[in-house]
Amino acid sequence: MTFQAIKVVTKKVFQNLLMLSLILVIVIGLTGIPTDFDIHSYNGDYKANMSMESIMESIKNNFKIFVSGEAFNVKIQGQTTLELLTKTARKSSAILFFGAILAVVVGIPKGIIDSRKKDSSGTIKLLQSLIPLSVPDILTITLVQLLAIYLSKNEISIFGIGPFPFFGDETFSHAIYPIISISILPAAYIARLTANEIEESFTKSYILAARGKGCSRFQIIKNHMMKGIFYSVLSGFPTVIGIMFSSLIIVEMLFNFRGIGFYLIYFYTTQLIPPYEAGVGFSLFIVVLALFYYLIFMIFNGLKEILMPQSKSS
């Protein structure tokens, strides 16, 4: 039994390491393509601004930079890439972490409210979580920013709190709008997951039996559905993380919140950093982002495996 368990765990670890290595090779390879690489159209003919050999050379160099550890020591605007990475990662982690918590805290109650509404308000409530999922994330985030600007310009506070700054990253209050922006889509997604789980559970015989015991709707959700909702949200969390990572760049750019996402675009577009340093920074940041995403993904998959066996057997 123990040997079997060790075998299964070893296999899983090996599979994951292999997958991780593959992802790293692809990411380092792709980010090795020089940032000033371009294809021009001239008289109906398309031509690259650099040869295949030089691109391959650049990719090879990129691998060398990572293997030797040089990628962490390149100086950008007076600080090493590692220092910059640590600083930005802290900022991005903060908005991802608090954004995820806000999404769960808002999403689950919203899903509970949205579910099983037979009156006309049910459609409106359903739309509240479907609309954010249907419109482009940049539009949602822009609308939050416009609201933030409006509140700030007119010095409007909500429940005596605020107005909060809508630009920059100096204090924690600067992170409020980025956190709200990054949590809207995941909250809508979690609300849908929760509402669907509740809808489905209400058709189950054990819910009828619970109603027969005298449980109120609240008691049914609390005592008989919460585990199901938790497992459902846990299963959906890799998707939630994916949504948050894709929104991270837009949020950080729009709110000038200098995290990993902000610097990714900055490295790619700025003329203020030499191409070599910008290229190394870009590669490093994207590799770290990929690693970070993979790590979180694995943690949630692992949690699911550990916590869900009871529900699997039933």
Binding site: Y206, A209, G212, G214, C215, Q219, N223, Q310
Partner: protein, 322 residues
């Protein structure tokens, strides 16, 4: 003393513009300590009747008429919150399929204790202690060990025992058993019925027993209601009904009981099928399958009439003006 009185209950299902009379003009009473059996084939409206009593009929079903008087109060006028105080506390129910009526993700002890916490405002420890006693009362001897088990660690018979423990947790006045043995192994059925019988005396409960097993009815019931296509066809005290069935449908049901001394090669059955609600005859609903049918049966629905004291029958054959 009458505990529950169902008067002209009508529960219909509405799908699009169509309406399906699942329970149509059903009336009966149940006294304290009485066992009332409701019998009939699948689709006769037994389950919808008891779900109506519990106030658990969901959309597209709706109770459109009648009264359900419990201790003189009409349950149909009660709010959902008020009904919540009665369900599981005053009137409890056990269901047909114990495999799906226990929450697969919750520990069984917790599920039994839940009703006590809700209705008796018991503290968690007290409720757990009482749940253990109830597990013992329904024949789960190693309760301490199995209290924290999940339902899938129990057999079908054991799960039905757990369901019974859950139902009797608050000492209900009425226990509704909706085909409690249908999904169980034949060898377990007798044990569950014995348990119900013993608990009935111990807790002084009234029982409404939904079944299509006439053997069970003969053993357990004081009074019997025979239903077909949502209508009561006959109701009578147990002995009277078995000794003197008057409705052709009841007679046919009785003929279907296999007898040990019977030399027949094939078991009897009622020819034809229970009609779909859209195909109900405008006359007697059994007329399409009745061997004693005549013209009036197909044209007009007979009333439920008391032919001898406490023996009610719905059939034109017993009408003087047939």
């Amino acid at each position: 003393m009458t505990l529950l009185e169902v008067k002209k209950l009508k529960t219909f299902f509405f799908l699009g513009k169509d309406e399906y009379p699942a329970v149509d003009d059903v009336s009966f009473t149940i006294d304290e300590g009485e066992t009332l059996a409701i019998i009939g084939e699948s689709g006769s409206g037994k389950s919808v009747t008891v779900l109506s009593i519990m106030g658990l009929v969901d959309f597209p079903g709706k109770i459109i008429g009648g009264e359900i008087l419990y201790k003189g109060e009409n349950l149909l006028r009660k709010t959902e919150k008020e009904m919540g105080r009665i369900r599981g506390n005053e009137i409890a129910m056990i269901y047909q399929d114990p495999m799906s009526t226990l929450n697969p993700m919750n520990k069984v002890g917790k599920q039994i204790a839940e009703a006590l916490i809700i209705h008796k405002k018991a503290k968690k420890n007290e409720a757990n202690k009482r749940a253990l006693e109830l597990m013992k009362a329904v024949g789960i001897s190693d309760g301490e060990e199995r209290f924290n088990h999940l339902p899938d660690q129990f057999s079908g018979g054991m799960r039905q025992r757990l369901m019974i423990a859950m139902a009797i947790a608050c000492n209900p006045k009425i226990l509704i058993a909706d085909e409690p043995t249908t999904a169980l192994d034949v060898t377990i059925q007798a044990e569950i019925l014995d348990l119900l019988r013993n608990l009935k005396h111990e807790y002084n409960m009234s029982i409404i027993l939904n079944t299509h097993d006439l053997g069970v009815v003969a053993e357990m019931a004081d009074n019997v209601v025979v239903m077909y296509c949502g209508k009561i066809m006959e109701k009578a005290p147990n002995k009277e009904l078995f000794d003197n069935p008057l409705n052709p449908y009841t007679k046919k049901l009785m003929e279907c009981i296999p007898r040990i001394d019977d030399k027949k090669k094939r078991l009897d059955s009622i020819e034809g099928y229970v009609p779909h609600p859209t195909e109900f005859s405008k006359g007697c609903r059994f007329s399409d399958r009745c061997s004693e049918v005549f013209q009036k049966c197909k044209e007009e629905l007979p009333d439920l009439k008391e032919v001898t004291p406490n023996h009610w029958v719905r059939c034109w054959l017993l009408d003087e003006n047939k």
